[in-house]
Amino acid sequence: MNFIVELRNVADAEPYKVGRKAFRLGVISCRGIRVPKALCVTQDAYETYARSTGLIERISLELGRKELKDIRWEELWDASLRIRGMFLNTAMPSSLVKKIREPIEEMFGDRKVAVRSSATDDDSPVSSFSGLHESYLPVQGIYSILDHIRLVWASLWSDTALLGRKESGLGLGQGTMAVIIQEFMAGRVSGVVFGRHPSHEDQAVIEAMDGHNQMYADGIVEPARWIIDRMTGRVLAQEDAVRSRLMTPGASGLHLEKPSSGMTRDSPLSGEEVQAVYRLALKIEEVFGTPHDVEWTFCGAELYALQSRPTPVMYIRERDDMRNWYGSMSRSFEDLKQLKIWLEGELIPEMIETAASFSRTDLASLTNDELSGEILDRTATYQAWERAYWNYFIPFAHGMRLFGRVYNDTVRPPDPYEFMDLLRPSDLLSIERNKRLEYLAEQVRQSPALADALRCGRDTLDFPCFNNEIKSFIDTFGDLSCNSPASNRWDESVKGFVLKLAFKSNAAGQPSIDSMEDLEEYYLSFFPEQRKPFARELLHLARSSYRLRDDDNIYLGRMRSHLKASLGEARRRLAGRFPQLDDTDIPRALRDPAFNPVQEEQPSEEDMAYRFRLSARQLIGHPAGSGIASGTARVVREGNDLAEFNAGEIVVCDALYPDMTFIMPLASGIIECRGGMLIHGAIIAREYGLPCVTGVAGALAFIKSGDRVTVDGYLGIITISDP
């Protein structure tokens, strides 16, 4: 097997062995186009590594846990993180190192290089697959190069690559990867020429910026742009960029700097240089017979092609989508910092105020018409916030992911979720609420008379202190019934829960506390001095992301509660006319006394009958909280189910929302249908040290309250005992 091919020989190799990117670079190099010196580590090297270390099968097992259609993107991200962890912690066999090390050292010595992916399924003309995999630059020294080859291999399994394969209907387990080791070009000006305009076939586009291209790829700065007539080569339009920063290579990666005064001229390219870049695109088009998008850089006066790919057939209409050329669906660090400012400074306060304004309305005093209007208003407002939640808050969760990735790449821990220990804040609203509940439970433990009153359902007027605490708790956190219509009295659910908490037999949980300072120091010790500020800033961002992931749900939950309260009031008024009514029919039913909604017929039991009865003995999900627990299942579908929750039970739900997590101190395990390590169930499980399995697709279908279940949080397995 040939593990290394020099670029000048790549054109003679099978494209499959070297990947399309390397193959094209080899071809254009042979046709006289200037490209950086390079070697290609063939896909044989990847295959040898992945097979001899058993990684191929470990990956298949990881991705084969569920049917592809049942895997959510969050689960794909988790799978990708775990797979990346496997690559980080699996060394190359020494026989392979021996074969590739010498030619790399011989060609590059201690010079800086770019380590680029060259996947065999990358960049085909009809695919939107381009740029799904990763490149690293600048990299220096043989050990670092070997290390980054593994990281590029791991990117074959990045979340964007997996998502791309899922959406294009390919099997997740498909793919192989070659790697290009390319001399690093510290360009004076860099950019991309799009051989054909995304929406105008007769035009080409050049984008350029001072310094290195990576800032462009990350979308950190806007490039200058030229629109060119493909027929004549004439510049049709030019947009200058505002350049306040530029990216330059440093000792440990690329750094943002302020440009020198000489660099603040209006255009990073002269007219002649624009034409040279355009001619480069034409020349490459001539070689391959189809327009190409080419990443280029000027080193001094010399123009280099760094990589190229055919302009996609199915193109991209929006300007922003062009960044998909670089394939990152992830938000950059800079982007997330801006998002944080906006979320914390504007959206969250607005959310709180909206919820507060709802609470000021006395629903009982409204006429039916007014109540109808109030419900419509609350529904529209809630839906708008729900959209905002999906559009802005969920993407901000990428802050945690970005941190997790940097942490794992830098620290290389055996547990790919170790980074979450650093994110545990002390001021989560849900944690604060649970501390207050524990305080109330302690009062009950200390006072047998109070406990007795609660057990017998007597009022607690003789315990004014306790009563005031309960009232204050409800004012702050709600009544724990999650506004279920059947909750009888505002304080009963809290008192009932506090009694259970006071005398729970198991000691499931108080959040575990490690020394945060030690953890921080350990994390920072892996960064060189000049990278420590970045490491701190990223940690800060990730903590905000972690906290908001919890708090935003609480705030959204408050709004949902207010909406439900208005619907509850309406149902109470309409109970005589309509025993059952859909939420959407309620506003009209309030306004129109003659309204009579048609009830759909339910399919009869008989239609659903089969000759077989299907049950589950064992279900697979994702291990999200280590440990093992056996207990009685409590299926939670609505707020009322929470009131039934008993100490030692295992909560089974579609998704664990923050306003449900007060039951955690009573629970002995968590089973969630929704998958992901950064969802609430997983976060809270880690917080309380509870065994947790997420992404159990059939949990609600197969598990009933009262079933005896075992949660294996190490392996992600749920076992349901025979009844």
Partner: protein, 159 residues
């Protein structure tokens, strides 16, 4: 309030039965386990299934240990799987364990099951038609269906 519980899609039992039929027709051999005086005892046999999946059949001479074991204790389990003996089996293979009570098929019920058996294993016609050979039938109570390494569903026969 409800917790946005989505419509839960229960896996269709019909879908599982189709998977079982496909597995049974793709495999010729199965492992039969019987009770040999308290000691589990396993054998490889050529098997077939009835169209409605209620029965699995196999043939054995009456002098075998498994035959006498079944005469003593009708409780039997049969394992059918599509392993290839590669590591990929752990995420690709399917294994089904059928449990129930087994006995020799005699009388009018025998014709249809014999036909199904010979049609699947024509080379065993002489063997199964021998007077010394018994056509055994497992009346299935349950199928334990294992896929994806650890995913275990149970298909129980309704009475």
């Amino acid at each position: 309030m409800d917790f946005n519980t989505k419509e839960v899609k229960v896996i269709d039992p019909q879908q599982i039965t189709l998977q079982l039929k496909a597995l049974f027709s793709s495999q010729g051999l199965a492992v039969v386990s019987t009770n040999d005086h308290g000691q589990p005892y396993s054998n490889l046999v050529a098997f077939a299934s009835s169209e409605d999946l209620r029965f699995l059949v196999f043939a054995t001479t009456r002098s075998t240990r498994k035959f006498s074991n079944i005469e003593e204790d009708h409780r039997v389990s049969i394992l059918i799987d599509n392993r290839t003996n590669h590591a990929s089996d752990f995420h690709e293979a399917m294994a089904v364990t059928a449990t129930g009570a087994a006995d020799e098929v005699l009388g009018p019920e025998k014709d249809a099951l014999l036909k199904a058996y010979i049609s699947k294993h024509p080379h065993l016609e002489d063997f199964v038609m021998s007077p010394t050979c018994a056509l055994m039938r497992l009346k299935v109570d349950r199928y334990y269906v294992v896929s994806r390494f650890q995913h275990v569903l149970v298909l129980s026969m309704k009475e």
